[in-house]
């Protein structure tokens, strides 16, 4: 009996132990990269407010545009006629004309797009009072910046194109492995569901790691899985290659088959383009959305096709997981409806719809601000999960070496500790450094946006050098202190360089700028608090230096 129990226990323990081993190492080696992906991905939720804060010169322009959009301007039909007249006069040979007549309220700018002779997608803006072409913006904006887009791009391709995409994809796969093995390893998942025991060293780190992971588990699974699915065609190219051929021609053919089913071939018989307004109004009625764009394939040909696309800014878009807009296609010659897609629908069948929903789920295109904040919170919890896991690895091994790396164990632990500091506190410093660079790099500098990016990566690299050069406890404290200082001083820097401050932002109702600064201030306070907490913890315990940043600081760093 006793023997039977022992063997069954060992068998169970064996499986659990194998999963624990997998969780530890899979988690550790990917935790730094995943922390960076998660933190920047979390910031990417508020990409637009960050971009708004980083382009202060645009604020006046935006307000003017807002004021202008309330003034009545030319009607939809008039705008479409002007667009067609411009295209007929200047780009009659283009195979596709794309007119963006107005915003969802029928106001705003009037823009036309086409492919030039080099297959480049180009556009022109027309005056909404006369239909005359407006001079193109002759110089790039003074404060050229990637803005919040930096966080979006970094979190899925690390600014390294396809190579970066693959690296992040593999890391996301490793995260799924770590999630499953973590759930199996966690013996008391329900008993410890609400447990957090503060001030207990290793125990507290484990509790924190478990709590943020278990409580937000649905989100963590969803965000990693949908992240992989969005780029599924890159990660699993065989389907497209076997059906459409390899290389760019195959990719083009696939895109054409997916996005342009039933596109007519030009007949060769000329036919004047009919007035577009009636098509636009019918399309509007059929799909139930205001007109965003009218696209004419083969203009001037008898086989011309007119596509009417909808604006997705209605309240209904908040209630749809799939973020596609409505679309109605007409034959220009007969006026018959060739294709109708309702808002939220897709062209490519169930598989396409699934992918569209997964992409919507990942990018929280639905639900408005409340859901954005929810994603932000869950993203911070995910970042905290990576950070606490990486710190737990070292805290567990500090009292006694486990000797995983033979004679080099102490040195490897030292490297891991430095990587923790640089990946967690250092990334925080790099992110806030990016905002500092935005105010410090002089406007008008050539390739200014690259300089900002160089500051981000430069600061991060310096953080790693610093973490390697200093003892771990000192490195934590210094980087957390620097993070706190940079965060708390950012509003001052903004006031000195641009002359804007929280009071003015709140007075003019600029919640985007105020939100960015308030969050940065909160992060600074949290980082400063955890720096002090570390210093005190060390003096009270008198123990060996510990890499013990508080949960909040990593979460918000």
């Amino acid at each position: 009996m006793a023997k039977a129990q022992a063997t069954s226990g060992a068998g169970q323990g064996g499986f659990r132990q194998a999963q624990a081993w997998l969780h530890t190492w899979c988690g550790l080696w990917f935790s730094w990269l995943l922390f960076a992906v998660f933190l920047t991905g979390t910031l990417a939720v508020f990409e637009e407010p960050i971009t708004h804060w980083m382009t202060p010169e645009h604020h006046a322009e935006e307000e003017a545009a807002l004021a202008a959009s309330t003034r009545p301007t030319a009607s939809l039909g008039q705008r479409l006629d002007w667009g067609v007249a411009y295209m007929q006069k200047h780009h009659a040979g283009a195979g596709m004309w794309e007119l963006w007549p107005a915003d969802a309220k029928g106001a705003g700018e009037l823009r036309v797009f086409w492919f030039d002779s080099q297959r480049q997608y180009v556009s022109a803006e027309l005056d909404t009072a006369s239909g005359a072409p407006l001079p193109a913006a002759s110089q790039p904006p003074a404060r050229l910046t990637l803005g919040g887009q930096h966080f979006v791009d970094f979190h899925y391709e690390l600014h390294a194109g396809k190579v970066g995409l693959w690296i992040v994809g593999i890391a996301a796969l490793a995260m799924l492995v770590a999630l499953v093995s973590g759930v199996i390893t966690h013996r008391r998942i329900f008993k410890d569901f609400f447990t957090f025991r503060p001030r207990k060293g290793q125990r507290s780190w484990l509790d924190a790691h478990n709590a943020v992971a278990v409580l937000t588990l649905p989100f963590q699974f969803m965000i990693a899985y949908t992240g992989i699915v969005i780029s599924g065609l890159t990660f699993m190219p065989v389907g497209v290659v076997t059906q459409f051929g390899a290389g760019m021609p195959g990719a083009w053919a696939f895109q054409a088959a997916l996005n342009e089913p039933g596109k007519p071939r030009p007949s060769g018989r000329p036919m004047a383009l009919p007035a577009l307004e009636s098509f636009a109004l019918r399309g509007q009625q059929l799909m139930g959305q205001p007109v965003r764009a009218v696209v004419i394939d083969h203009p001037g040909d008898a086989a011309a096709r007119i596509g009417v696309y909808g604006w997705n800014e209605d309240a209904g878009a908040q209630r749809r997981l799939s973020a596609t807009s409505g679309l109605a296609m007409f034959s220009a010659a007969t006026g018959e409806v060739l294709q109708l897609r309702l808002p939220g629908g897709v062209d490519g069948g169930k598989a396409s719809l699934t992918q569209s929903v997964m992409a919507g789920l990942h990018m929280v295109a639905f639900g408005g601000l409340a859901l954005k904040w929810l994603y932000f919170l869950c993203g911070l919890a995910g970042s905290a999960m990576m950070a606490t896991g990486a710190i737990l690895f070292i805290v567990k091994r500090r009292p006694r070496h486990l000797g995983e790396f033979g004679g080099a164990t102490a040195r490897v632990y030292r490297l891991i500790e430095a990587a923790n500091v640089a990946a967690i506190a250092g990334l925080g410093v790099a992110c806030i450094g990016f905002l500092w660079a935005n105010r410090l790099v002089p406007p008008g500098l050539a390739q200014r946006d690259d300089w900002e990016l160089a500051m981000f990566f430069g600061v991060w690299a310096l953080a790693l050098v610093h973490a390697l050069a200093r003892p771990a406890a000192a490195a934590w404290k210094e980087q957390l202190g620097l993070l706190a200082a940079l965060c708390l001083l950012l509003p001052l820097l903004n006031a000195l360089t641009v002359g804007d401050h929280l009071g003015a932002q709140l007075l003019r109702g600029d919640w985007e700028s105020a939100g960015v600064e308030l969050f940065v201030l909160a992060t600074g306070l949290a980082a400063g608090w955890s720096r002090r907490w570390m210093a005190r913890g060390k003096s009270i315990a008198g123990s060996a230096p510990r890499p013990a940043a508080s949960l909040e600081s990593e979460v918000q760093a």
Binding site: K191, F193, F194, L215, F219, R319, G367, L371, L374, A381
Partner: protein, 116 residues
């Protein structure tokens, strides 16, 4: 229903529900009462489950069935995180907050249903 109202109501109900589930466990009931008496576990679990289900209602009203379910999962997670923080920092206050949020949100929900 505005998204903010829906979100707040759902969050309040999720917090109250998670608190009820937590206090149904001996460890956390002890944190609350300081004594060794057993919690009314079954009643608290039923109450907690009911409150979590009730948190789905404002989500479905605010965002429809599909987005509502996604939002509900998120609010349940957020409520649970708030609950863990609250219970371990100040268990009595967490219980009081749950007592205020649960019935308060249910009343508000009933009001929204009845009022046009």
């Amino acid at each position: 229903m505005s998204e903010w109202l829906a979100g707040l109501l759902s969050l309040a109900l999720a917090f109250a529900g998670m608190a009820a589930l937590a206090f149904a466990m001996e460890r956390h009931y002890e944190q609350l009462t300081g004594g060794r008496n057993r919690p009314p576990a079954r009643a608290l679990r039923c109450l907690g489950a009911a409150l979590l289900l009730a948190a789905l209602l404002p989500c479905v009203w605010g965002w429809g069935a599909t987005v509502g379910c996604v939002a509900w999962l998120g609010f349940v997670s957020a409520g649970a995180i708030g609950c863990v923080a609250g219970i371990n920092a100040a268990p009595r206050w967490a219980a009081r907050a749950a007592w205020a949020f649960g019935p308060g949100a249910l009343l508000a929900l009933a009001w929204v249903c009845i009022a046009p």
